[in-house]
Symmetry: C2
């Protein structure tokens, strides 16, 4: 008996063949071939913005033009920003926030920054050359009522058919979740902060 015909190998092959049949049937059942997705990354865990930047990286590999608007962070994300400088032809990056809200302690200034960011977001969403727009930490701006929720959701829902939009931030509003095609919640199972380790350059900023 060759290893390929061992009972274990046969069982594995059978199981995987079944799995493949399920997978193929699922793929075949999809009827809408191309649709710009509204994606939301929320939850208390790490990786919400990071996964959005991963989407940007993938999109760049397909030669897509991408727009990024940061609603809240300011000094943060220097790593991504510097890396994306190698794609000057494809990336349009706008940081409108001036730091975390608990750094500024000025509601009026934060609200004005959020409004300016939203204006830029609408511009990018209207640009027919842009295929992916990341609205980083938009959820925070919505949570603090810096922007009118119904107007924002309506604009996202009414996006151009081929435009993909990724929204990040904790506490996504139910109305936004309702409007989204794909919602992922990042949950923290374990964090090195609890073990007394500082935020790590290159990994967290």
């Amino acid at each position: 008996m060759t290893p390929e015909n061992s009972p274990e190998a046969l069982r594995h092959r059978e199981k995987m063949a079944k799995r493949k049949a399920v997978q193929d049937a699922e793929v075949a059942s999809k009827i809408i071939a191309e649709k710009g997705l509204l994606m939301v990354h929320t939850g208390p865990g790490k990786g919400k913005s990071t996964a959005a930047f991963g989407l940007v990286l993938r999109a760049l590999g397909h030669g897509w033009r991408c727009g990024i608007v940061q609603f809240i962070k300011g000094a943060w994300d220097t790593g991504e920003r510097r890396a994306l400088e190698r794609f000057p032809d494809l990336i349009s990056w706008h940081t409108m926030g001036e730091g975390f809200t608990w750094e500024t302690q000025d509601r009026a200034r934060d609200a004005a920054a959020a409004k300016a960011a939203w204006t830029k977001a609408r511009e990018l969403m209207a640009d027919p050359d842009v295929k992916l727009v990341v609205l980083d930490e938009l959820n925070i701006a919505l949570r603090y009522d810096y922007l009118p929720l119904s107007e924002v959701v309506a604009a996202l829902q009414g996006r151009r058919p081929g435009l993909h939009v990724a929204v990040t931030g904790r506490n996504a509003k139910p109305e936004l979740v309702e409007a989204a095609d794909l919602v992922t919640e990042m949950n923290l199972v374990k964090h090195h902060f609890k073990a007394g380790v500082k935020a790590q350059e290159g990994i967290e900023f």
Copy 2:
């Protein structure tokens, strides 16, 4: 009364000042300044590999050399791969898998591919110039017992002090979670597949 002195603005400022004090105290309490982290992205949701590629993007912005080993996927991830070609000086990419396991249905071939990938992973982890190693879908290889769990966990725990490692894939083994510094679980709240939309080029591959 100027808007900056309205009761609402004062309340907001006070709340944010308290939040900042908590935040500052938390940062000050961290005693381990630099440590290579073992990060695990698991769970049934989207974004596990994508967030790992986002980490790579951030690391590249800091000028770090990064290694990527794909344990299972083959034809997948063409977008990231093409985008990372703009960093030939910093990226070392290795795809050892030959497609999802339910595509191949050949346990012996998959196990051999996983072993070859693990050898490459150990090489990258030993290279003092590499600061971040992504072991994409290693969890799947462990789940199917293609690799000895205890040996893999021991090697990850015994990594060089400054080396960051990100491991992705569903169903992370408890032993790996135990050894990790940071574990994030991606959960699916909503998925467009359910609404009959096909996997979208540029977003999902």
